[in-house]
Symmetry: C2
Subunit: 450 residues, 2 copies
């Protein structure tokens, strides 16, 4: 950390504890020395009651940018506490693409007034963005692309830019269009600085840079930026018209949200889950997930229930139940996570699924032999019966193969059904490994021990 950063950290800590105690000096100065994303993160890390205090200190002109950086829940909470004038003031000076994201969260009655407070050009731009899904290329784009014609010289472009004044942030290229606004290619602005000014734009531009259609899903846009190391890219309609441009800062947010989504959804949480949301809200939301899991737990209990008579005779089986179930669950989720990631990266598809399945089953069998032998011997010694050792060996082998099958098959099937494998994969998988594990252990026990 730089000294300046360290200082900031310690000032932040001081601020947090001052907030805890309700006393607050220099709050305004400290908070407004932070970048909007940093203010947003600070607000998110505070209990709801403290958030209002910090929010009061935020300068009106950055309020809009902070709102955009907040997660949806906290944003809605703060917006709820603002009056119309404040909200309209906050939207002033925001980039149009950010405003498009925010406007859906404003009270209906305000939308009209916000639109009214904008100039005609911005209003038109905003409605152009609002046509598209928020998580598509069209929703991500900004309308501040600087365009030039192919037939002018660089000299003319240089003069035009100087006249025009300040360029939009993260302008690394100008977009070349013809007189009908059809996209022709991109001109890297560094070329303006290094190429002969007598040359025309057409001679210097890169016409091989394809535009992104506005309907492209945000995650595909992110992949394109990642794979091609882009800083900005043109959004172009199917009939070749340049609509706007996407910049890397918005793509980075997409990547981060996507990553959050996959971690959080594995635990049945939304990626916008507010750590400090009210107890009731959180409890209600998580209860849904618990109920889904409860159903699968009952299914597993039901399987055990079928073998009550066996357990009564051989209690050792009940003792070993958790081992068979949990090893199957662990092995299965390793395969599951690997396959879910492969699907997300576009590396797993029907063509190689069979190959993967054989591989995962082989891994399962190999580890099965190692783990199951250990458990079998341990159980044999513990309960002084080698039959029991052999039974748990067999049950574990069966469950580890089932785990490999489910680990590969479940996400592929869920995906085909249009269900997010990251969200539902774990529940379905453990249902399989629990029931197969209990059924094989207790079933074999019934056959050979009673």
């Amino acid at each position: 950390m730089t000294e300046a950063q360290e200082q900031k950290q310690s000032r932040l800590a001081a601020l947090r504890s001052a907030l805890e105690q309700g006393s607050l000096r220099h709050g305004h100065r400290l908070i407004n020395s932070l970048h909007p994303a940093e203010i947003a993160s600070l607000i998110e890390s505070l209990p709801p009651a403290r958030r209002e205090i910090v929010w009061e200190f935020v300068d009106p002109e950055v309020e809009g940018d902070v709102l955009i950086e907040l997660n949806e829940e906290v944003r809605a909470e703060l917006i709820g506490g603002m009056d119309a004038e404040e909200l309209i003031a906050a939207t002033e000076g925001m980039e149009v693409d950010d405003l498009a994201d925010l406007i859906g969260d404003l009270p209906e009655t305000l939308n009209e007034r916000v639109l009214h407070s904008m100039d005609a050009q911005d209003r038109e731009r905003l409605s152009a963005i609002l046509q598209f899904e928020q998580d598509s290329a069209g929703g991500l784009m900004n309308l501040d692309a600087v365009t030039v014609r192919a037939d002018v010289t660089l000299e003319v472009v240089l003069r035009y830019l100087r006249m025009r004044g300040e360029l939009p942030a993260r302008t690394d290229q100008l977009f070349v269009v013809n007189r009908n606004d059809k996209y022709r290619g991109a001109l890297d602005i560094t070329r303006l600085l290094t190429e002969d000014p007598e040359k025309t734009v057409g001679e210097v531009m890169d016409s091989g840079v394809e535009g992104i259609p506005p309907e492209t899903p945000a995650r595909e846009v992110a992949k394109l930026f990642e794979d091609r190391d882009l800083v900005s890219a043109a959004v172009v309609t199917s009939d070749g018209r340049l609509l706007g441009r996407i910049t890397i800062d918005d793509v980075v947010d997409v990547i981060r949200e996507e990553a959050d989504h996959s971690v959080m959804s594995m635990a049945g949480l939304g990626e916008d889950e507010d750590m400090f949301a009210g107890v009731l809200t959180s409890a209600r939301r998580r209860a849904i997930w618990l109920s889904v899991n409860l159903a699968t737990a009952f299914l597993a209990a039901n399987v055990v229930g079928l073998f009550e008579a066996t357990i009564e005779k051989v209690v050792a089986l009940a003792v070993l139940m958790p081992i068979v179930a949990s090893m199957g669950g662990i092995a299965g989720s390793q395969t599951l996570v690997l396959i879910i990631r492969g699907i997300a990266l576009g590396q797993v598809e029907q063509a190689n699924a069979r190959w993967l399945l054989i591989r995962e089953i082989s891994v399962g069998l190999l580890n099965g032999i190692a783990v199951a032998s250990m458990v079998g011997i341990a159980a044999g010694i513990w309960f002084e019966t080698w039959t029991l050792g052999a039974i748990i060996f067999a049950a574990l082998m069966i469950n580890l193969v089932a785990a490999a099958l489910a680990g590969v098959g479940v996400p592929l099937i869920l995906k085909r059904l249009g269900i997010d494998p990251a969200l539902a994969g774990g529940v379905v998988l453990t249902t399989v490994t629990d029931t197969v594990g209990f059924a094989s252990l207790l079933g074999l026990g019934t056959l050979f021990l009673t």
Copy 2:
């Protein structure tokens, strides 16, 4: 998807199936129409035997860039199959920061020869980068920063750039240094295009842009880029010397790797896990994780073993065991994931941990009442005894509170011990919820049912 992309997808699918069948036409042209990152992704999605075939088709001049994009395992595999001449040819034309990442993976004997094949300046640059950890600002930086002095006019800078010719990729700013190479600030290149050329660099530059110290961990660099929407940033030593610059493309890779890491490590997998690695390699690696979990499963089984006599009398307890354990595990991992993410975002710390703990326990209690009542009633009806219903109700309540405690406490304690909570959190948590769940259910059963 654009038409061009769709075409590419279908060509890729054709290529994959051609590879499956061993026949391959137009392979060379198709493969080399892809970007290096796309070639890398294609190679990763193929079984090892097919990878060599694709690799043979890759143009020598992009081989280095493809190697860098591959995950470590696959990279090592391909490097192992290349001879010295090929490897040296592949390193030519690579960016120095990429080369620094690659060189550690080359055979020792080759390093010397690669260094020899470079010119003196590049060699010096390479060793400057190699001083730093790969996942620090110093390891991420490139040495192609273009520097200018504060006292010259923009006119002079413009002439210098034109003379210099092509600028390094993703040059959005020049860095201003004094005659001792001390960093003074940054000059956005768009300012060169829009400001009066008579002005000096000193008048136009932004001196408020702090440099990043080379020791800064990569994840903090990523946070800085995200929060401040940067495209590039200067790396500056503690005594103010400009070392190089970091560009957004490398930061995006850091963000992606970090995200991968948190998902994969929850399942005890490395983020570089190769989906198609040999069965033996994978089995060995995963066996470690299975063994760790086996130890905790035995611990849980041991707890059950203490109550054999009880289970023998009340077999219904064995039937209900999976429900108590799994509900505790699910509720606990929801809290765990939330807290781990909070820690990663820097939003959870000692100051607000107590607040969070109280909140999570409250959520646990509320959901406990809902879930435990349902289970209690269901169990009461199923086994026709309300005492059993009351016992599982109580056991679930106890376990859900334990889950909340462990969900908040475990990651904080692991972090303080210097252990990655994402890696070990899940195992420790389920150990807690399994043992507490079994102990409370069977303990209460012993007290009231026998």
